[in-house]
Amino acid sequence: MTAMVATQPLVTVSGTAIAMEGDDIDTDRIIPARHLKSLTFDALGTFVFEGDRQNAKAAGAVHPFDAPEHAGASVLVAGENFGCGSSREHAPQALHRWGIRAIAAVSFGEIFRGNSATIGLPCVLLTPEAAAEARAAITAAPAAEVTVDLETKRLRVAEHSWPVEINEALRRRFVSGTWDSLSTLAEGTQDAADLSRRLPYLNGWQAA
């Protein structure tokens, strides 16, 4: 039994950033369902935002994930309800495998945020004003160094910075390198067994 695995501490993520405009960017856009037909996550990075990128190209525009100045970016800054829709872990997997190591947004789809946590991709919350300012700063200076700092709970773009929010228990697990969810859950194995004996549908419908 090797339920417990060590994970790397995630304290700061630094690099260039991509600013995405618009709310409600759904997981079908992040990774179209045709790429869920693979038995591994390995190749997903190539296909991130595939449909949007194709449509942009057809319209003579350049999608942020195709823009030369964003090649190698490691931070994504977005608006409200980023990653809404389907539960596919393929969405954060595709972003992560493309190179994104932290996402800051006004809000996230619940399942997307949970999935990102399980693969070590921190999602932090910004106020709407901070998200607008940060995106404007990134757009004005695409080469600027951007940092998501989980120690000080700040997003920095060059000399500017804004506070970010993240669940405190999750933040501690990231910073201490104990964010493997299965390791955490395995510590509760005996408690789960005890609880299961009290659940009516597992004990012959005796009262709870």
Partner: protein, 471 residues
């Protein structure tokens, strides 16, 4: 102390508090399908782990399965590989597999209820966001990702945050021709696609109380399109009558004890909610989406909105209008369609097809020339019952292809998909860009009856007018 169903069920399943509002939650039922599980089983193998509670895990195949020729091996090699992997994984880990070979398969959220696996008071997860469907029974049900599927297989638990609860009451009664689908589209339209972030939605009031379980499942199914992870209805006599006698439901004395527990879980009359909204059911018309999220809908006699008062709002509307090829102020009725899709975990149940078949038969209408129309039952059981009633013939006579069960064109992971530039009238749940298989395909979400009306006219139309339904 007065409490909501959400709190009662949540509290009874807390294994451990992990601090700062994070909890290890025990999972009563884990539903598995092929599209989000292969990597989870691989991760279990990597760590040399077994499935902790094999009896609480049930699998089927739905996302990739063809709905025409289902003989093995499938024509599509990737689909065949996915099903083979699921067969091997469920076999080697000792899990129950509801298989196409034994005609037990179907859309996972349709068969869970059909078999009585879905019960009040359970925590239910599945690697699929529409797991919320099962909340119709008073279960706490939500979608998870593949690493969490691994976690549940290994520990029968997941890490979650506690949600706030918004009570949504639908008062009065629905007008004829207005369905449960229209109710949830209306709710999402009124509240918006992100109002539910951080919330569970509890549905109640006279309209919901009067709904069948099929209808309640349609409502709870789509809460995720409103931003909510969980949606539920309180269990009542309708719930118990549906479950009684189903294969996996408790029996005999156990049934009585189960019902007593289930009743105790309903939200107390004086329970406090984090938010409460009330809508008049009589105000709801058949709804149609015109855009690229589920908040972008209007009544069938409405018009495509715009311009919005603020620049950011107008940018979002304009982006959606451009993608959908519609103009501000254009009536939605009359938007042409190429494909009509009946089915999915939202509207792939027996009552959905019966309602449409009756309307088609009564009106003697047929699918318009040039429209490709698919009727895809949600399960083998739904399909068998339709055939037994002779309704497969009604669909075929009206010009629908009557198919084998699966997710089909809701997600377009099998061969059923839109061609570039096509528009679908669909009874499924998502109108996202590219959702139905083509990056330039367009989706109009509506009720099954409205899909049938659009199929008949070749364009969006009011089902009450097409099928002569009046109050």
């Amino acid at each position: 102390m007065a409490a909501t169903l959400y709190s009662k069920v949540f509290d009874q399943h807390v294994v451990r508090e992990l601090g700062e509002d994070q909890y290890q939650l025990f999972i009563g039922l884990h539903l598995i399908h092929e599209a989000t599980s292969a990597q989870a089983f691989a991760m279990l193998r990597e760590r040399g782990l077994k499935v902790a509670y094999p009896d609480r895990n049930v699998a089927t195949v739905d996302h990739i399965i063809p709905t025409d020729d289902t003989s093995r091996p499938f024509a599509d090699a990737q689909s065949e590989a996915m099903l083979s992997a699921l067969e091997q994984n469920t076999g080697s880990f000792g899990l129950r597999f509801l298989s196409p070979e034994r005609r037990e398969n179907g859309v996972v959220h349709v068969i869970g209820a059909e078999r009585g696996l879905t019960q009040p008071g359970l925590t239910i997860v599945c690697g699929d966001s529409h797991t919320a469907t099962h909340g119709a029974f008073g279960a706490l049900a939500f979608g998870i990702g593949t690493s969490q599927v691994r976690d549940v297989l290994a520990t029968q638990s997941v890490i979650v945050n506690r949600l706030k609860v918004r009570r949504i009451e639908i008062t009065g009664e629905l007008a004829p021709g207005v369905s449960a689908k229209d109710v949830i589209l209306y709710v999402i339209h009124r509240l918006g696609p992100k109002a539910g972030v951080g919330y569970a939605y509890e549905f109640g009031g006279p309209v919901v109380d009067a709904m069948s379980m099929d209808e309640r499942m349609t409502v709870c199914n789509m809460v995720v399109e409103g931003g909510a992870l969980v949606g539920y209805c309180n269990p009542d006599d309708t719930t118990f009558a549906y479950l009684h006698g189903r294969p996996s439901a408790p029996q005999g004395e156990e049934w009585d004890r189960a019902v007593a527990w289930w009743r105790s879980l309903a939200s107390d009359p004086d329970a406090e909610y984090d938010d409460r909204v009330v809508f008049d059911g009589g105000e709801i018309s058949p709804m149609v989406t015109w855009g690229v999220n589920l908040g972008q809908s209007v009544p069938v006699d409405g018009r495509v909105p715009g311009p919005a008062a603020d620049a950011a709002g107008e940018a979002a509307l304009a982006d959606a209008r451009t993608f959908m090829g519609v103009e501000a102020g254009q009536p939605v009725a009359g938007i042409g369609i190429d494909v009509a899709f009946l089915g999915s975990c939202t509207n792939g149940r027996l009552s959905d097809f019966v309602e449409v078949a009756e309307a088609l038969r009564r009106s003697g209408t047929r699918v318009a020339e040039g429209v490709r129309a698919l009727a895809v039952p949600g399960s083998q059981e739904v399909r068998a019952q339709l055939v037994e009633r002779g309704l497969d013939k009604v669909f075929e006579a009206a010009g629908f292809e009557f198919r084998q069960p699966g997710c089909s064109m809701c997600i377009a992971m099998n061969q059923d998909r839109l061609n570039d530039g096509e528009t679908a009238a669909s009874s499924s749940n998502r109108n996202f860009k590219g959702r139905q298989g083509s990056p330039t395909g367009r989706t109009l979400i509506m009720s099954p009856l409205s899909v049938a009306a659009a199929a008949v006219r070749g364009a969006v139309a009011d089902p009450r007018e097409v099928f002569g339904i009046s109050g």
